[in-house]
Amino acid sequence: MALLLDIFGFLSVVLRGLVLTTQSLMIGGVVFLGLIVGPVAGKLGAVGTAALARGRRLLFWSALTLACAELVFVVLECVVLAATVDIPLGLAFGAAFARFGLIAAAAAAAATFVARGELTRTRVYILFALALAVLAAQLATSHAAAQVDSRAALLVADFLHMGAAAAWVGGIPYFLLVLYRTHDGRAHGLVGRRFSLLLVWTVAVLVAAGLVMAVDYIGSIEAVYGTAYGVMVATKVVLLIGLLFFGAMNNRIIERMTRDPGVPVLRVRRFAEVEVAIGFTVLFAAASLTSQPPAVDLLTDRASVADIAERLAPRLPHITSPDRDQLALSELQARINAAAATNAPRPQAYVPGEGMLPPRNAADIAWSEYNHNLAGLLVLAIGLLALIDRTGKAPWARNWPLLFLLLGGFLWIKADPEVWPLGDVGFWASLRDPEVVQHRLFVLLLAGFAIFEWRVRTGRIRSPRAALVFPLITALGAALLLTHSHALSNVKEQLLMEISHVPVALAGMTAGAARWLELRLDAPGSRIAGWVWPPAFMLVGVMLLFYREA
């Protein structure tokens, strides 16, 4: 039980992310198959048959995963609730979140049975009813449902926002299934045009409903940059713009395709693939948003423009490591103490198991800044070498992926000084800390990338699939960074740290998407993308090089 409580906060967000993603895939699938492909399946020939068969399989697996994730989530929450409030487990299962969670799980499980047969009109109606049940159950345990004021308006807005997001983001993988391994420009154009029309409406609804919620949950411009909730919403808006960009590009091609079925479908596929990556990142950002208190409620511990400007102002990087046993740097510590002294006393809130976190001292900050700064130097060098390699005039530069191994080794040792190999906490014991787990996972991703990409660059692996490991891992790392937050006792410090991570994550996402397009697109798009990602990498390096935490 102690271990469960330790990792409860982490697990609950993971499960919420999984629920939101699979829920979107299920609802998006029902909408796509029921409204986009179903009504015109007869006109699509082989493409229609393939789209329905593959779509039903994806719908089945999405609904099954959703049902399992909901069940695990409800059981986990009930066990923790019963243990921490000291109530019978039966009483915990009577809570609203448990009842609605079980309803969502039952609806998703029912959808798996319906999706196994041919999609007759009756089955489509049943699937729509089940998708609505899932959405309604999710809504019943949302921020909106827990509000005291403006509840009705927020419930309607949230329902529309979640439904539109699911129809859009969840529908794209089904659209890709239509485009893969079929060669019928007329059918692709017809499906694409119907999907584009739906997306125009879903985007309008998504943005309008999002604005209603933003006004109520954020409340002021100051709260957009001054709270973690506001910053995360702003990040979602940036990602939304990215989604719209690729969506608009696809829309143009599809328009041409409907006039001329000979227009190649390749670009639509590639842009849709990038949309899937961005869309799922948005969903996980949304999941981590649900565990933040709405900005409008956080009246103390907000960051001001001056706080943010001071934090982002460039300063010479740390290029030598502080001693692990070194005591606090006196001057900086004095500033931190003075700042802490001015903070008004406030009640602490935390999720069970998280525990009360000790304040970080100056040595901790110097340690972390050094880690980020040195990592930045290595990433900058990687980007620069990749750019030189791109010119084709310096064959030696193609070995640049090996620098990632150096970076991974450095982070493995230095990222968490309190755990193995530097600290007293053993390797396995350290995995109870979700932040350590994330750092370890990040290093493993780096090592995997380094080896793969070096072998690809040097011709040891000739499979074009192996080359895709790089953009996948880069995008994953960026998404990971976006949903990763640092557990600190000081809410404002935590926000300032996250503000500096967001641009790094966005530049990383850009690099991953650009490299993916370089590999998968045809000219001239691939050439342009090839010149985009090395500078994006260098930008990440520069931001890390000047990264500060105080």
Binding site: F97, A145, A146
Partner: protein, 123 residues
Amino acid sequence: MHTVRSLRRAAVVAAMLVALGSIAADAHAIVVSSQPAANGVVHGKTVELVVRFNSRIDPVRSRLLLVRADGSSITLELGDTPSPDTLAATVGELAPGAYRLRWQVLATDGHITRGDIPFTVAP
């Protein structure tokens, strides 16, 4: 079909990896106001304790505990509250000294949160 299967497998792996990266340090339900306030001082033996949150609370599955300076604690019986976002209790026969009002709440959106409100009872 191989491409489709690969894509599906990649999507599942991607979702799992991103899921592993998600973590939140904050929680949804936070204290908006309390009586007594954090680090406040109250007088008299009988104290009215009221905590208002930023969301609706499930009172049957929420608790207020009074923790004494020596670490011992008593679970308080929750009284009627004027609003679904508020917990209230009355406690009598309090000796002067330092106390902590420990709250753990289940918000109706399913978030479990808890925290402490330190206060002092003056003679």
